[in-house]
């Protein structure tokens, strides 16, 4: 009887382990999914001011889906892995989707160096305190939010994003 109890524990623990391994750690469900994306206003980093102005306000860009990426230059290697992928995604979808980077808890000089290193052409705001990150319930950089044209959060990806994942999530928010 007792032996039977112990043996029945093996498949139970095995199933629990299997279920745990199936879960995608990047799929960290945000409580914001389905809700309006919190609005924010940030000052833009100098390289983007000529094209986008001094400040960037999210609500002024409604009508187009937004890929909102939180990053920092000290976030190695994840932010360094995804930076070229994001830039490629921006170049491919820039007619239909707005990409915006939120540089979080970083030094401006380091952020600018990172931007130059990857030649990032989509606009980036500067948030040294990480205020916007808290508004989005961010755990840690990098995190990417997909916001649809109506301004609702549709998905949050935690960790470095892959090209396939980026494209899949963009297609989900495209009208």
């Amino acid at each position: 009887m007792r032996r039977w109890v112990y043996f029945s524990l093996v498949p139970v623990l095995g199933a629990l382990f299997w279920w745990g391994m199936q879960r995608d750690p990047g799929e960290l469900k945000s409580v914001l999914v389905g809700k309006p994306a919190p609005d924010f206003e940030l000052s833009l980093l100098p390289p983007y001011r000529a094209e986008w102005g001094e400040r960037f306000r999210l609500s002024e860009h409604r009508g187009k889906p937004v890929v909102l990426n939180f990053w920092a230059s000290w976030c190695y290697p994840a932010c360094y892995e995804e930076a070229p992928i994001l830039e490629a995604g921006w170049r491919r979808f820039r007619d239909r989707v707005l990409f915006f980077g939120v540089n979080t808890q970083d030094r401006e000089a380091d952020a600018l160096e990172f931007i130059a290193q990857f030649n990032l052409t989509f606009p980036h705001g500067y948030d040294p305190r990480g205020k916007v990150g808290i508004d989005y319930g961010m755990y840690g950089v990098p995190e990417t939010f997909f916001i649809d044209a109506e301004g609702r959060v549709r998905y949050r990806h935690a960790g470095a994003i892959t090209a396939a994942e980026l494209e899949k999530r963009i297609r989900e928010v495209l009208p």
């Binding site: 409580v31 808890q105 305190r129 990480g130 990150g133 808290i134 319930g137 840690g140």
Partner: protein
């Protein structure tokens, strides 16, 4: 005086914050509320203990909201709306969460039951090992006979 210089040096070194600003002098109420909130980037640290940038910003925001006259409950709700109930150190006592609160008690009861059964079993085996007077006499007779 020579001994003092390292002290002066370290005093400045410790006074530095990552952003170069002086640490804000926050009221104890801020830390009381922050201690009930999780630091989102840490392992097992509250937003009051942690020195991570995000925790510092959380404390700053809590101080700001207190200044605006918000209650502790309203402030906690603000963070729950963004992070979910995960951000609370003490999960609210309702629904499935009761299982969490009762888990230690359930564990203690299971352990108590197992321990009680073990003692009962051990007592029974001990009783089995004891020889009755007749058995003892029979054995003695056998030994004498040999």
């Amino acid at each position: 005086m020579r001994l003092l210089w390292p002290l002066v040096f370290f005093a400045f070194a410790f006074a530095q914050t990552p952003t170069g600003e002086p640490p804000p002098d926050l009221p104890p109420e801020v830390f009381r509320i922050a201690s009930e909130l999780r630091c989102p980037v840490c392992q097992g640290e509250s937003a009051a203990e942690s020195n991570a940038g995000v925790s510092q910003e959380m404390r700053r925001q809590i101080a700001e909201m207190l200044r605006q006259g918000k209650s502790a409950e309203e402030i906690k709700r603000y963070f729950v709306e963004r992070y979910g109930e995960w951000i609370l150190y003490a999960p609210p006592k309702r629904g499935i969460n009761w299982l969490l609160w009762l888990a230690p008690l359930i564990g203690l009861l299971v352990f108590g039951f197992g321990f009680w059964r073990y003692l009962a079993e051990a007592g029974r085996r001990e009783a089995e090992l004891e020889l009755s007077d007749e058995e003892l006499k029979a054995l003695e007779r056998r030994l004498e006979g040999e």
